[in-house]
Amino acid sequence: MNKAIKVWATWAVSQGWTVEDTADGYTQFFDPDGTYIARYPATSSNHVADYLISRSH
């Protein structure tokens, strides 16, 4: 898991989300209903704000 998203992922899991690493290097996020929401690439570090903002929509 990308270090930039690790804290956020830990918090998401504590809120009932499912977080999974994929074989092709992504971390996937599923909400408490099991619905896919987004994925975070292991090679990028500039999408943390995108995740945070997307949750306000």
């Binding site: 987004a38 943390v48 929509h57």
Partner: protein
């Protein structure tokens, strides 16, 4: 002058994980970020360099159009610095309960319960089984504008704690209104 703009396009089109991943892969050259809006659709976020936000919106729309088959139903555009500031903003207001309000106002917890009956006291944001909670900003506003009646000086938090242990409940008619 060129700035970086963050453009968020909102689509109301049902899309499962496979489709969203396919869109994201197709927009990988632009490092687009796609997030599902369960039951509604999804958003596409792109960081675009351009002279102004109108230009950036046009560029982002043109990039997305060949990939996403429907038109967006909404668009938000921010400068990258404003976007980062918003991302760092708390999504919930800071909350306080009666004991914290007692400390802020320098009164006993009992007094806080009495103050709830006054017109100027803010309404709670939530009423939990454990008790109501208020927005800190509303309580701070109340603290700034509250006109205390003479004869009952404000007390420190320590004094309040000591007195809470021994003070009988004051009749409401004596203290309501400050």
């Amino acid at each position: 002058m060129t700035d970086t703009w963050v453009v968020i396009l909102t689509y109301h089109e049902p899309a499962d994980q496979q489709r969203l991943v396919r869109y994201e892969d197709a927009l990988a050259d632009h490092e687009a970020f796609i997030a599902a809006l369960p039951g509604r659709g999804f958003t596409v976020t792109m960081h675009i360099d351009g002279p102004d936000l109108v230009n950036a919106t046009g560029v982002a729309s043109a990039i997305a159009r060949p990939v996403v088959p429907t038109e967006p139903v909404g668009v938000e555009v921010w400068s990258e610095s404003e976007y980062e500031r918003r991302a760092d903003e708390p999504t919930l207001p800071e909350l306080v309960s009666a004991p914290e309000i007692a400390d802020i106002l320098g009164v006993s917890r009992q007094r806080v319960h009495q103050l709830q009956d006054t017109a100027a006291f803010p309404e709670p944001l939530y009423r939990l089984r454990a008790g109501p909670v208020w927005a800190l900003s509303a309580v701070e506003h109340f603290a700034r504008t509250w006109e205390r009646k003479p004869g009952r000086p404000a007390r420190s938090a320590n004094a309040v704690a000591d007195q809470d242990a021994i003070e009988p409940v004051a009749p409401a008619s004596r203290v309501v209104g400050g």
